[in-house]
């Protein structure tokens, strides 16, 4: 129910600044995912929003009102922790009721809200149990329930699924997506290092790197038009191939190890470029048709539905090609691959994406 505005937010621990001036606008009812490698400051940023850490500089507004000096409980937030952080000595019911009761809600009202949340999360049969008697997935549902009953304006998730096994993670991801659909008014901020969670859950993704915003956009924007080489390599799995490239006299791009230069129509300067192409955009070139790369197959990884083919095109790193399981690819054989021009990405020597004019 809240619009969040972050203005030049900074955070230092002692002398070390870990958040270097973040500007961000999060609209009401949106699910925004903070994603980035460990140490990028995504959890710290979430804790600043929660009020668990003090903001060193900058201003944070909820619906236009500064919350810099407000304690967590007055911000109207709820948070789900990676470790669940349930009260181990309280039953499931009391875990959800604790905050509400102390806030002075009536006994009946508290009960009603908890029963509703329990119904939603299928916790009705375990309200009397202690957290230690629950499985990991159930504990996480209780933690979500405890957050829901607070009826928050902003719902914060700090890597909520990373303690669960793969199957459960997929299931809980769907549940969180459903929750977001149901709570249309509640703004949600979700921190993860898992780009699959980011892609599937987010309305918008904020990619963080070293305490700075690298790019903000919808999942598909980030996938199709990464602003930087960092985003390009972070979003998508397996990661995008980036091949060192130079510019020919005619203004074409010549990736190292490529069969022929490519005309990309961008005004280019600089010599150390990077040409990016996603493994899934590469296909086997028809006989006689021109190819982008040609190389010997060094490794084939069968994933069932697809296969990842490692191609030695003469660079340090192999070129990864994602092919359907029916494609003929055998180790030691030569393979010619190509990709549509619109799927090629070009990055300058600072890592910024160069767009075709």
């Amino acid at each position: 129910m809240a619009q969040l505005t972050l203005k030049n937010i900074r955070k230092s621990f002692g002398k070390a600044e870990v958040i270097h001036g973040i500007d961000l606008e999060i609209t009401k009812g949106e699910l925004v995912v903070f994603v980035g490698p460990s140490g990028c400051g995504k959890s710290t940023l979430l804790r600043l929003i929660a009020g668990l850490e003090e903001i060193t500089a900058g201003e944070m507004l909820f619906d236009g009102r500064s919350v810099n000096n407000l304690p967590p409980k007055e911000r109207g937030i709820a948070m789900v922790f990676q470790s669940y952080a349930l009260y181990p000595h309280m039953s499931v019911f009391d875990n959800m009721a604790f905050g509400l009761k102390l806030a002075g809600s009536g006994r009946e009202a508290v009960r009603e809200r908890i029963m509703e949340a329990a119904r939603l999360l299928e916790l009705e049969s375990m309200l009397d149990r202690k957290p230690r008697e629950l499985s990991g997935g159930q504990r996480q549902r209780v933690a979500i329930g405890r957050a829901i009953v607070r009826n928050p304006r902003v719902f914060l998730f700090d890597e909520p699924l990373s303690n669960l096994d793969a199957a459960l993670r997929g299931q809980m991801r769907v549940e969180i997506a459903k929750l977001h659909e149901r709570m249309t008014d509640t703004t949600m901020i979700y921190v993860t290092h898992d780009q699959v969670e980011a892609m599937t859950l987010a309305d918008r993704i904020v990619v963080l790197r070293d305490g700075q915003v690298e790019q903000v956009g919808t999942p598909m924007e980030l996938y199709l038009r990464p602003a930087t080489r960092f985003v390009a390599e972070f979003i998508g799995s397996p990661a995008m191939n980036i091949v060192p490239a130079t510019v020919t006299d005619e203004g074409k791009v010549l990736p190292r190890g490529a069969a022929a230069p490519v005309a990309l129509g961008a005004s280019l300067n600089g010599t150390s470029l990077g040409l990016g192409v996603r493994p899934e955009d590469l296909t086997i070139a028809q006989d006689g048709a021109p190819s982008l790369f040609e190389g010997r197959i060094t490794l084939v990884e069968h994933l069932g539905e697809t296969q990842l083919v490692h191609l030695d095109v003469g660079n340090d790193a192999p070129l990864i090609v994602k092919l359907p399981r029916t494609a003929a690819a055998e180790r030691g054989h030569m393979l010619r691959v190509s990709a549509p021009r619109e799927t090629l990405h070009l990055f300058d020597d600072t890592g910024r994406a160069v767009r075709a004019a």
Partner: protein, 302 residues
């Protein structure tokens, strides 16, 4: 478990069981046995069985009247039991409260925390006899710093013989024990506090629980197992207290504890069998209190 595994287990346990039997089982059995004899310190081998004579006996005056004698009707003994219980209850209660307070402080983040933690332990590290002697001097009626301070600050009109005066002797003994043992308590409780995950406190902050409520409803219940174990450790020590009392207030019925009573009878009054009987009772009293406590606190000692 297979028979051979069981045999191997017994074999490995045998040296420990044998040692325990030698250093704990045998002396305990001997003491209990002496309690049923008329043994004296000078003639342990000539001890003869007299049944319950040390505990309760009818002493006839020869004219048809008489009186009950023995430990069970000995006012000195029951006074010692009472003293011990009062001492244990007061010192362990105060040490728990103070220890918890200190542990909470030491559990917070502040610079030089390691140094402070080590410094707090100093009273516990000093041998009891040394600290008792030190306090005896500080509490001395003529030369003690406590009286000197009290007089100069106008708190006392005349010097007080803290350890000799019947009104203050017990308080003095308890103060010294509290001074000495609180650090131990604090450290045991601190260990318990550190087991509580930090994020639970963050969850409580998000839930809007104020710090006082957090203490009563989160910290205390979660630290309770550690506190209960610390209490039983200290209570067992306090019920057996000997050295502080013996050094600070010898020969004082206001402060005589069970252990002091036992020691006096065994070695000073040449009533070896009587002392042994008292020793046996002491063992029973401590065992019963411990069992009752474990049951009441529903401690899980596994």
């Amino acid at each position: 478990m297979g028979a051979s595994r069981r045999r191997a287990a017994l074999l490995f346990l045998a040296p420990m069981l044998l040692t325990l039997a030698l250093v704990a089982g045998w002396p305990l059995a001997r003491t209990i046995w002496f309690g049923f004899t008329d043994a004296s310190l000078t003639d342990l081998d000539g001890a003869a069985w007299i049944g319950l004579g040390n505990y309760l006996d009818w002493l006839p005056y020869g004219d048809g009247s008489g009186e009950w004698i023995g430990l069970l009707v000995d006012r000195q003994w029951w006074r010692a039991v009472w003293n011990t219980l009062v001492f244990t209850f007061v010192t362990v209660s105060v040490e728990t409260a103070l220890g918890l307070a200190i542990a909470l402080v030491l559990n917070a983040d502040f610079p030089m925390r390691g140094v402070v933690r080590a410094a707090v332990l100093v009273p516990w590290a000093i041998p009891t006899v040394v600290s008792a002697k030190m306090w005896a001097w500080m509490l001395n009626d003529q030369f003690g710093i406590i009286n000197d301070l009290g007089m100069k600050l106008g708190l006392l009109s005349a010097p007080v013989a803290w350890v000799a005066s019947p009104d203050t002797a017990m308080v003095a003994v308890m103060l010294v024990d509290i001074w000495k043992s609180t650090p131990f308590m604090a450290l045991l409780i601190l260990a318990g506090l550190q087991m509580i995950p930090r994020d639970i406190y963050e969850a409580a902050r998000i839930d809007g629980v104020n710090p006082i409520m957090t203490f009563w409803r989160v910290t205390l219940p979660l630290a309770a197992p550690a506190i209960l174990v610390a209490v039983i450790f200290r209570a067992l020590d306090a019920l057996r207290v000997f050295d502080i009392v013996y050094v600070l207030t010898p020969n004082n019925s206001e402060t005589r504890t069970m252990s002091v009573f036992v020691q006096e009878n065994l070695f000073q009054f040449d009533q070896f069998s009587y002392g042994s009987a008292a020793s046996t009772l002491l063992f029973l009293v401590i065992a019963m209190i411990t069992l009752a406590y474990i049951r009441a606190a529903r401690l899980n000692l596994d």
